[in-house]
């Protein structure tokens, strides 16, 4: 895990054969999104802003170095900035918890967002996180509560919000600061409900299938744009953002400033209502006429025989015997996420 967080995995050969395999293409983007030299929030802000004032602390527990927040001046506009901050080397990564915020990180973000609302500053967030910190101290201090409240605050904040997915958009830890009027993604950023390794180890029962899971989840920026979750994709220079921080920042600044100018024209009530509608309509379902699902008819003899002969039904001491039957039917319910 540490290897992955440090981005070392990019040096190891890709686990799938690259010629013509769509999984390899997706996986190379995942590796780019995790690249150790990719510009983080502080690098981007320093490159694009004329001024940067960092603020610290959630006023309740402490200051989380994995999430930075403050004020900045962007082309003469005052903005509030929040964003996760991974480290550029091992020492910094240890100090910054590999960019995985604790609850106090999200509570600091909420504090700065409330300041932004009160003082009329638009909020720009930079999202690059493998996931919120999963340790026991994180649970004790209420990571789920912090994430849910941050999402709730952003959904009703009475000031424009531009969210930028710059690297890994890792699940709830990303969404907690990624609810916005406009969501921008860098070309090689990824956004997913669970890490591809986590998804593969649950659904394929081995983390080695991570590239397959990454493809299946359609987690690249272009796919997310097609799904309507990301509004705008900003192209990266050269081989990727890590090759040219200044150019990446320049392109992002242009996109952010343009969106801020558009949002500034919209009356605040309409803006908040449009933001609510944006998330309200996300989701894919159909509505059929209401009859409940048909109950299974009584099994015939063939079904009973099949059940009888199905090796998955046999178990010794509670452990299912290996056989095709179990996999063919449903996986254990617990495995679903």
């Amino acid at each position: 895990m540490v290897d992955r967080l440090l981005g070392r995995a990019r040096d190891t050969p890709s686990p799938v054969d690259p010629d013509g395999d769509p999984r390899a293409a997706v996986w190379s983007r995942v590796q780019l999104a995790r690249n150790l030299r990719r510009p983080r929030t502080l690098e981007l802000v320093e490159a694009m802003a004329d001024e940067w004032v960092e603020l610290a602390g959630d006023r309740g527990f402490g200051n989380d170095p994995a999430l930075v927040a403050g004020f900045a001046r962007l082309d003469g506009r005052r903005i509030a900035v929040i964003g996760q901050q991974k480290g550029a080397d091992t020492d910094e990564n240890i100090r910054r918890n590999f960019g995985m915020p604790h609850p106090e990180g999200y509570r600091k973000a909420m504090r700065v967002m409330e300041l932004a609302e009160r003082f009329g500053l638009p909020v720009v967030s930079f999202v690059d996180v493998p996931g919120a910190h999963p340790g026991p101290e994180s649970e004790e201090r209420g990571i789920a509560d912090a994430i849910a409240r941050s999402i709730g605050l952003m959904s009703r904040l009475r000031t424009p919000i531009v969210a930028v997915i710059t690297g890994e958009g890792g699940s709830g830890g990303a969404l907690a600061i990624a609810v916005g009027d406009v969501v921008i993604a860098l070309e090689n950023a990824v956004y997913s409900v669970i890490s591809p390794e986590g998804c593969a180890s649950i659904l394929w029962r081995t983390p080695d299938e991570a590239p397959t899971a990454a493809l299946a989840m359609r987690m690249t920026a272009a796919d997310q744009q097609a799904l309507g979750i990301v509004d705008l994709v900003v192209a990266e220079p050269g081989e990727g953002a890590h090759t040219d921080h200044a150019e990446t920042a320049r392109r992002l600044r242009a996109a952010i400033v343009e969106q801020l100018d558009v949002l500034a024209q919209i009356p605040i009530d309409a803006l908040v209502e449009t933001r609510y509608r944006r998330y309200r309509q996300l989701g894919a379902y159909t509505e059929v006429a209401a009859p409940p699902v048909a109950q299974p008819e009584r099994p015939g003899l063939a079904d009973r025989l099949r059940n009888l002969l199905d090796p998955g039904r046999w178990s010794v001491g509670g452990v299912a015997l290996p056989g095709p039957g179990r996999g063919r039917d449903e996986p254990p319910a617990r495995e679903e996420v």
Binding site: G131, G172, V193, I202, L227, V337
Partner: protein, 362 residues
């Protein structure tokens, strides 16, 4: 070592497989009919078995008051997701196994006479995972609660967001929470009930945001799966980690409530949490369900007594006796009423495995 022989009974009928269920916590063998009578709580050790949505509604609502809404919401396959089998096949299999259309149902009903909007999740349906349909149901329940000024109750039982719907499932966190924020602004109450398990994206969105959070004893409640946590810190997790009592101790659950007291507890809370427009100045006592001053009430009391005596003469049961029959009546007109979700004994015996997968690293 018991050897389980195949039975000729169809799976669905043999579900729970036999007449007996072994308590995963104390290993006591429990007679299923007996277990149903005690609300599926082990009489020996108090282990709370998981409930299907229908049984949960039956336990919480007044008889005959349940009216389901939006029953026709149906999952689609937005990503064309195929792992070891296609996502639509998994949904179809879960629908057949549970008789539900997706992992949550919502509707209106009443608890001790108070109308509520209630949404109940069922862990038996793909681990109670939240995809677009579950998110939509919770959101619609919240919106209806707002429009009709009904207290909202959500009973969560879920492993988290549904991976097969990718980030669209993740967006349900934002959708549901945004709707709850509106409820909160309008001062309409929301009570969250967390049952075993409530983890991942469901915990990190609506489940944690109740005006009052209730939890069933020993329910697994947490954000990251225990495997992820253990992998990150590379050490044994403390006993009771991510259990209801742990959450209570750390201030994220108001009350840990035994299942037999849950209905009364909700009724009690609803007397305090009254939707804003229903509080009318001067009628505050009414909101607390105290008897109002009625000068001629002795007349109606007399009338009651007379009709009661008539009933006794005619051999009809008294109203109070009729009410006492309630728990044994089939309350809810759902076909799958009695089928509880499958129990997974691992949940309570293994020290590290008890999370519903690593839901969702957030």
């Amino acid at each position: 070592m018991p050897i389980k022989l195949p039975s000729f009974r169809h799976r669905r009928e043999s579900y729970p497989p036999d007449l007996w269920t072994k308590c995963p916590s104390c290993e006591e063998m429990l007679f299923n009919k007996q277990l149903d009578k005690v609300m599926r709580v082990c009489p020996t050790c108090g282990h709370h078995f998981r409930l299907s949505a229908a049984v949960r509604l039956e336990q919480l609502l007044d008889e005959g008051t349940w009216a389901e809404r939006d029953a026709g919401l149906q999952s689609v396959d937005p990503l064309g997701f195929v792992d070891q089998k296609p996502y639509p096949d998994r949904v179809a299999a879960a629908q057949l196994a549970t008789g539900m259309r997706d992992a949550a149902i919502w509707g209106t009903g009443s608890i001790e006479g108070r109308a509520v909007a209630i949404c109940v999740m069922d862990f038996g349906f793909m681990g109670g995972s939240m995809g677009s349909v579950v998110g939509e149901k919770v959101t619609r329940a919240a919106e209806a609660a707002l429009a009709e000024r009904l207290p909202l109750i959500v009973v969560a039982a879920s492993g988290g967001a549904r991976m097969q719907e990718g980030t669209l499932a993740l967006m349900q966190l934002a959708k549901t929470v945004a709707a709850l924020e509106r409820l909160k602004a309008a001062r309409v109450p929301f009570v969250s009930v967390m049952s075993d398990p409530t983890t991942g994206g469901v915990f990190a969105s609506y489940a944690v945001l109740g005006d009052v959070n209730l939890a069933e004893p020993n329910a697994l409640i947490g954000f990251a799966g225990a495997r992820v946590t253990a992998g990150t810190i590379a050490q044994e997790l403390p006993a009771g980690f991510q259990r209801a009592e742990f959450l209570h101790e750390h201030g994220f659950v108001d009350r840990v409530v035994h299942r037999s007291a849950l209905r009364d507890e909700l009724a009690l809370l609803l007397r305090y949490l009254v939707p804003a427009s229903l509080i009318i100045p001067g009628e505050a006592t009414d909101a607390l369900n105290l008897p109002a001053f009625r000068p001629l009430s002795f007349l109606s009391a007399l009338a009651d007594r007379v009709s009661q005596e008539d009933d006794e003469i005619a051999g009809r049961p008294r109203p109070s006796e009729r009410a006492a029959e309630r728990p044994t009546d089939p309350l809810i007109g759902r076909g799958n009423g009695a089928a509880p979700p499958p129990e997974t004994p691992v949940a309570d015996s293994a020290p590290v495995a008890p999370e519903p997968a690593e839901p969702f690293r957030g």
